[in-house]
Each structure stands twice: as structure tokens, then as C-alpha cells.
């Protein structure tokens, strides 16, 4: 490859730093970003280590195409063994960090050990320094970034930081950059906190070279046109990811009151259009023509003045429908709080919604919640819970440990109400009417998760010949159907694995629009940027390899077929309301099990969910760990 890229190893215990050129073999097998992170995760960790011990490795990986002028090329992948689930920990973050990291000459960082005192890493053109960070400890995510810039007298520094939640080892603490971009899921901020690592700051001026710069530039322009001409992107450019709410809440596909209802009946104030009341404009990540978030200002009320970015669709559910808060303003305040403290919006909302249902059922009472009235729609209780979780105060301390531990602690049948898989909360989506989505959250390598495989275009009832053309096999057009859905999930898994590895935004591939760039376009971008030819078929195989090595990691940690499951309520309770297409639907246990069989088979895994020897050989995974980097 024309790009001379490097990986840095940082041991915070011994303060030893070293670097290595990225071997070509690793590039061609795993590409970059998530792919290379997953290879290292499997290779660097001994089985069953404590995720909060110095042995855990925090991996930071820029995508192969990070920095190109299209499709949101600012994505960075962050991985470690998850303290929340014990499975693959992995989270992808937008904003401006990944390109800045690439401008320093490094594409990947592998951080192990634990600093004696709080530190941060300063990565500057080819040099890495471990800097003292006592003065940053206790600071919120925004202040931390500002202080680093001031200390270094450089406004162009981009940092990945943790807030107090990460310091306090909240199991789902996140990593933030800018005002809202977060590596939200699986507790990567908790791992940073466990290493006494407050921030990773990057600043570089090294040119990124390309094999065919002029042609790349022209093709990138075409890519931006391709994505911005889709109907989906046009709406997303206007109102952000919140537009999903228009479809899901109207239909009845949205968890309300934890999991009691599937639509917020009086949810008009949460409609994305209402963000216009607070917006001063939209904002985009590096290299993004879609700009899917708003810059909002609260000018009045007890929380004013307040400036924030977002909110995402995720926060609409986390602090809206799931806890039955019906005001946009509540979402804006809560969204700001989680970003400031550095805690995952989705996990936080999921846990609080669960606690509210337990409170309603009497499984939790005032004594257990320190007098906090966890009633539906109680926004003051919501703000207090968020703050208490981040600071591990009172009952917040119980929730701060995530579902697994909290269930064990509360007991009393509380598990039944927890909408989680492998210990990670589900989004506020209700998958009972959509078997493809349900299969995706059950099988995802990181726990209940819509970003590993969700075939969102399943919602559109596309013609079956088009679906067959995309997915390479027969798929039913109706989203209520089980037919062909494993194939959809399998295809999306590979596509997203590759998207996360080249470092482009998932919203700018086949996620919500079938007309978005995918394999063919990715292959061409790689060729123009790096000069290396990787065919569409080869890209699919790389996706398969990445997904399979993640599977191997989880198997090694003790996960198995039984963990690829759904919360009991999906099988037992039918959806109570919604349009006819979404009403009175639940997942059929037997059909679900058949989907699972079929899904494993497509992957070349046995019925037990274990990749066969033949599959491993075919993917070049039969000799792992191979320890090449």
C-alpha cells in the first residue's frame, strides 16, 4: 500500500512506548479500524482476564480511508474486552479524531497497563508522550478537551476523553470527542478509567498520501452526490437521526414504558420537527455531506443557558418513550448530561426505564431508591438518576454496574423485565414485529445491538427481486416474515464490519437506503486511495473473517448458542398497540430457533454456533492467535 502507516504500543505501567509498521498481510486480511482492532483483541488478550485489570488492552483504530473527502470518513474504532458484558467490547466514534490521528502518522494505538496516577496521551507527529493529568481528573468531557487545548496552546488538537463516569468505572461509561460524538457502547470509557487514562489527544500535520489523488477526489464527489440524493439522507440532513421516530412511533415499533407499550401515544412533542425550536443549525462529522445532528441551544428554563449537539434518535427513546417523558426539552437536557458525564445514553436510559418498571411493580421501593420516586415521566428523577449513575451515588451505584450485576443484586424476578442481551441494553426499538431485527440483536457479538447487523431497509417492503439482487438469495418483502431474514442479517453484518474497518459512516452505506454506496463503491474507493485491488467478493470475505474472529473471541470467553437469545418477553407478550402491521405481534420461539440455525449455516458455523474447521481454514483463521502485530 502506498500509505506508510504505523501502529503504536503503549504500556502505561512500564511507560514503554514502541511502534511498528503495519504489515501488509494484516491490511489485506483485516483492512483497518474495527477489523484490525478485532484481530488484536483476539491476539493480545489471554482468555478470561478481568476487563478492568491492566492486562486488558484498549485499541484505537482509524479506518483505512480515514480522511478522504466523502461518506463521513472520520470514524474511529475503539475496542477492548467489555467490562459490561465480558464479550467483545467495541464502539465506533465519529467526529474529527480519526483523521487527526492519521495526520500524526499513526493509524492504530494499542494501550495496556495502568498508570499510577491520572495521565493522558499526547500523540503529535510521530511522537507519543504520557502526560500528567491530575488537573483533568474530575473535569467533565467538555472541560477536559478545552483544558488540553489550552495547555498545549493548540486549538486544533482533537481528543478522546472520559468524563466522571469513566473515572468512577461506570460499566457503560463512554468515550467522547467534541460536543457529542461518542464511542458509546460496551463501556470503553470504563476501560480507559481503569487505566487512569483521562484522554488521548492527537495533533498532526503529516500528509495523507493517495495512489490516485485526482481520480479519488472526483470519485468522492460522486459518492457524496450518491448519498445525498437518497430520500433518506435528505430527511436526515434536515432533522437528524430523530426522523426514525416518525416511522417507528407512528407504526408502533418503539419501546414505551420500558417494554409495556410499543408506541408513545402522546408523543407529538418528541417529533424531530420540533428540534427547529432550539436549533441554530446542523453539524457534520469530518468529511460528511449528510450532517445528521443539530446544534441546539436552550435559552429558557431552569437548565438554560445550555448548548448541546444532537440529540440522536437513541436519546429520544432513552429519555423519552422508554420512561414516558413527553417533552423534547427533557431529551435535550438529559442528552447534555450524559455527554457531559461521559456515559452511554442508551444503556443509561435502558436501565432507568427498567428501574421504573420495577418500581411500578413494587420490586423496587423508596427505601431501595433512596427515596427517589422512579415514576414514569418523572424528569427530575431522570436527571438525578443520570447524575447518580455517573457518580455511583446511592441506587445509581447499583445501576452503574449494568444489567448483569444489577439483576443479581435486585433479584426478585427483576430479570424478566430487563430488555437486554448478553448483559447489554437494547435500543428503544421493539423488534417483536420484525424478526430480522430480533435475530440481529440476539446474535450481535457485543450484546443487544442495532449497529452490528440491522437491515433497516427491511422496513420498506421493497420488491423481492430487488431484495434478492442485494442480498444474493430469496428474502421476503414483508418485515413480519421470517423468510430469508437470516440472510439479510448475515449480509449486513459483513457490510457493517467492512464499513467500520474502512472508517466510513454507517449511515452512508446500505443502512437506511438501498441506493447508498456499498461493496462496489468501497472496493473502488480503496483502489483509488491505496492502489490496492480488493474485489467485492474479497471484501465480503474480509467482513466474514472479522465477524468470525469476534465470534471466536466470545466463544473463548464462554459465550455460546444459548446466549444468542432474546428477552423472554419477546416470546410471551404480544405488542398491545400500533398499526395493524405492528399490533399483536410477538416472536415465535420455534421460528426464531430455525432462523438461528439458518444464520449459523450461512456463516459456516455449526448448529452450536461454533465455526467449523473448514470455515476457519477458508478464512485463514485456523492458526489464530498468529501474533503478527
Amino acid at each position: 500500500m502506498v500509505q506508510k502507516r504505523k501502529i503504536a504500543y503503549i504500556n502505561l505501567t512500564t511507560k514503554k512506548l514502541s511502534q511498528k509498521a503495519m504489515p501488509k498481510k494484516i491490511r489485506t486480511m483485516y483492512i483497518g479500524g474495527r477489523g484490525i482492532d478485532m484481530y488484536m483483541l483476539y491476539n493480545h488478550l489471554k482468555p478470561k482476564i478481568d476487563p478492568l485489570s491492566p492486562q486488558n488492552v484498549l485499541l484505537v483504530g482509524a479506518g483505512l480511508l480515514g480522511g478522504i473527502p466523502c461518506l463521513g470518513s472520520g470514524r474511529c474504532d475503539i475496542a477492548a474486552k467489555s467490562p459490561l458484558t465480558g464479550a467483545v467490547g467495541d464502539s465506533n466514534i465519529g467526529g474529527f479524531f480519526a483523521p487527526e490521528l492519521r495526520f500524526t502518522g499513526f493509524d492504530h494505538l494499542a494501550i495496556t497497563g495502568k498508570a499510577e496516577k491520572p495521565v493522558y496521551l499526547l500523540v503529535k507527529n510521530d511522537e507519543i508522550e504520557i502526560k500528567e493529568a491530575s488537573h483533568l481528573w474530575g473535569k467533565d468531557t467538555f472541560e477536559t478537551q478545552t483544558i488540553i487545548r489550552k495547555d498545549q496552546d493548540d486549538e486544533n488538537i482533537k481528543s478522546l476523553v472520559i468524563g466522571v463516569a469513566g473515572e468512577n468505572l461506570v460499566k457503560f461509561a463512554n468515550i467522547l470527542t467534541g460536543m457529542k460524538n461518542s464511542a458509546g457502547r460496551t463501556g470503553m470509557g470504563c476501560v480507559m478509567g481503569s487505566k487512569n487514562l483521562k484522554a488521548i489527544a492527537a495533533r498532526g500535520t503529516t500528509p495523507l498520501e493517495f495512489a490516485h489523488p485526482d481520480r479519488l477526489l472526483e470519485y468522492c464527489r460522486q459518492m457524496n452526490d450518491m448519498i445525498t440524493s437518497t430520500r433518506w439522507s435528505k430527511a436526515q440532513s434536515r432533522w437528524g437521526t430523530m426522523i426514525i421516530y416518525s416511522n417507528t412511533n407512528t407504526t408502533g415499533l418503539i419501546r414505551t414504558r420500558n417494554f409495556q407499550l410499543n408506541r408513545l401515544e402522546e408523543g407529538q412533542d418528541l417529533e424531530p420537527e420540533n428540534i427547529d425550536r432550539y436549533s441554530i443549525g446542523t453539524s457534520g462529522c469530518y468529511g460528511c455531506a449528510v450532517h445528521c445532528r443539530h446544534r441546539y441551544v436552550l435559552r429558557e428554563g431552569p437548565h438554560a443557558p445550555l448548548y448541546g449537539e444532537g440529540p440522536e434518535y437513541t436519546s429520544l427513546g432513552a429519555f423519552g418513550t422508554m420512561i414516558d417523558c413527553r417533552k423534547m426539552e427533557t431529551i435535550l437536557v438529559a442528552n447534555h448530561l450524559v455527554n457531559k458525564y461521559g456515559v452511554d445514553t442508551l444503556e443509561t436510559g435502558g436501565l432507568i426505564a427498567w428501574a421504573m418498571e420495577l418500581y411500578e411493580k413494587g420490586i423496587l421501593n423508596d427505601k431501595m431508591t433512596d427515596g427517589l420516586k422512579l415514576e414514569w415521566g418523572n424528569e427530575e428523577a431522570l436527571y438525578e438518576m443520570i447524575t447518580n449513575i455517573a457518580h455511583r451515588k446511592g441506587f445509581g451505584n447499583t445501576l452503574a454496574d449494568g444489567f448483569k450485576k444489577a439483576i443479581a443484586k435486585i433479584g426478585n424476578g427483576s430479570e424478566y423485565y430487563a430488555i437486554q442481551v448478553k448483559g447489554m441494553s437494547n435500543l428503544h426499538s421493539d423488534e417483536r414485529p420484525t424478526p430480522s431485527f430480533a435475530l440481529g440483536i440476539a446474535t450481535s457479538t457485543r450484546g443487544a445491538d442495532h449497529l452490528r447487523s440491522r437491515p433497516a431497509i427491511d422496513m420498506y417492503g421493497l420488491p423481492e427481486d430487488l431484495l434478492e439482487e442485494v442480498y444474493g438469495g430469496p428474502v421476503a418483502s414483508e418485515y413480519n416474515s421470517y423468510y430469508g431474514k437470516p440472510r439479510m442479517v448475515w449480509w449486513q453484518e459483513r457490510l457493517y464490519a467492512v464499513t467500520d474497518s474502512i472508517g466510513l459512516c454507517k449511515f452512508q452505506t446500505v443502512f437506511c437506503s438501498v441506493h447508498a454506496p456499498q461493496w462496489k463503491e468501497f472496493s473502488k474507493l480503496i483502489q483509488l486511495a491505496t492502489g490496492v485491488e480488493i474485489s467485492e467478493t474479497q471484501l465480503m470475505e474480509i467482513g466474514e473473517r472479522i465477524y468470525t474472529i469476534e465470534r471466536l473471541f466470545n466463544l473463548r470467553e464462554g459465550f455460546s448458542r444459548k446466549d444468542d437469545n432474546l428477552p423472554e418477553r419477546y416470546f410471551k407478550e404480544p405488542t398491545p398497540i400500533g398499526l395493524p402491521v405492528a399490533k399483536n405481534k410477538k416472536i415465535d420461539r420455534e421460528k426464531f430457533s430455525k432462523m438461528l440455525d439458518e444464520y449459523y449455516k450461512l456463516h459456516g458455523w455449526g448448529n452450536d454456533g461454533i465455526p467449523t474447521a473448514g470455515t476457519l481454514k477458508k478464512l485463514g483463521l485456523d492458526k489464530e492467535p498468529s501474533n503478527l502485530i
Binding site: 460536543m179 453539524s283 455531506a289 450532517h291
Partner: protein, 162 residues
């Protein structure tokens, strides 16, 4: 009719596609440091202002240049640097009130926007049309004043609330 590169910071989303495309076009690498257009951000307040040479009617850079290395292109009316004449003294950079002039760290020579021979690449990449290449005509000066007023207003508005 004369065209100008008009900047509307209110529409800017801060994506830096302009910087990136500019540097690839001019330098053949992605090096925002060498882009002729830079987006200045106040991230914590959500203010993004793309800064680029205004190709002023009465260019300070031209008048301070001791080597007379800055000249107006008769075709695009862009102020361009004669690399042969430029000695890299950076006087133009110091005097430009818009930060429209940069220095190439490697060659030590001045870099600035030359309007890409009348087809600015950044304009093609700016999806929200914060950058436009439009007829300036005699409105040139007035337009710029209006724009300047608008964003000083935004600044005031923002500063009053935060």
C-alpha cells in the same frame, strides 16, 4: 461578469470537506494544514466560520508585499502568488485580516486561494452551500458587509446566551 467565493457561515456544518478537497486538489495529499480554506471553530458554542481569502478589492497583502509577488489574475480576478518572486517574508500573512494566507512548512513559501482557475473545488464539495461561487458584480462590497454583519450578529447572540 465577475464571480466571487461567497461564504455563508450560518450554513456551515463544520464538516471540513472544503479543507480536505482543497488540499487534495492543490497538494495531491490530504493535508488540511495546507488547505487554502480553513474552518475556524468555537466547538463548545457551535460556531463554525470558514476562512478564506476574500480576493479584496483593495488587497492589503498586495500592497505590503516588498517583492510585488502578489498579482491579480486577469481571468478570475484572484490574487495569486508568483512563486518565483515570493521570498517567504510572510508580511502578507501578518497583515491579512482574514487569515487568508498560509505558509507551506516544507517549501516555506506562501500558499493562498487562487479560485482554482475559476472552478473552486471547495464549492463543489460544500453540500449545505455555505460556499458559493457567485456573480459579484458591483454588489461585491455591499454583500460582504451584509455577511459580516450577519455573523457578528450571530456571535453577539451566542455570546449573550452562553
Amino acid at each position: 461578469m465577475q464571480k466571487m467565493l461567497a461564504v455563508d457561515p450560518e450554513k456551515c456544518t463544520g464538516c471540513r470537506l472544503c479543507e480536505t478537497s482543497c488540499s487534495i486538489y492543490n497538494e495531491k495529499t490530504c493535508t488540511p494544514e495546507k488547505a487554502r480554506i480553513r474552518v475556524t471553530k468555537w466547538e463548545n458554542e457551535g460556531i463554525y466560520i470558514p476562512m478564506v481569502c476574500q480576493q479584496c478589492d483593495i488587497p492589503i497583502c498586495e500592497s505590503v508585499c516588498p517583492m510585488h509577488a502578489i498579482k491579480r489574475d486577469s481571468n478570475t480576478q484572484a490574487l495569486v502568488i508568483d512563486k518565483e518572486l515570493c521570498v517567504g517574508c510572510r508580511l502578507c500573512m501578518q497583515f491579512c485580516p482574514f487569515g487568508g494566507i498560509g505558509v507551506d512548512d516544507e517549501t516555506k513559501k506562501i500558499i493562498k486561494c487562487d479560485l482554482c482557475n475559476g472552478e473552486p473545488i471547495c464549492v463543489k464539495f460544500c453540500q449545505p452551500m455555505a460556499l458559493q461561487y457567485v456573480d459579484a458584480n458591483t454588489l461585491n462590497t455591499r454583500k460582504r458587509r451584509a455577511a459580516a454583519k450577519r455573523f457578528s450578529d450571530i456571535l453577539k447572540k451566542m455570546l449573550a446566551t452562553i
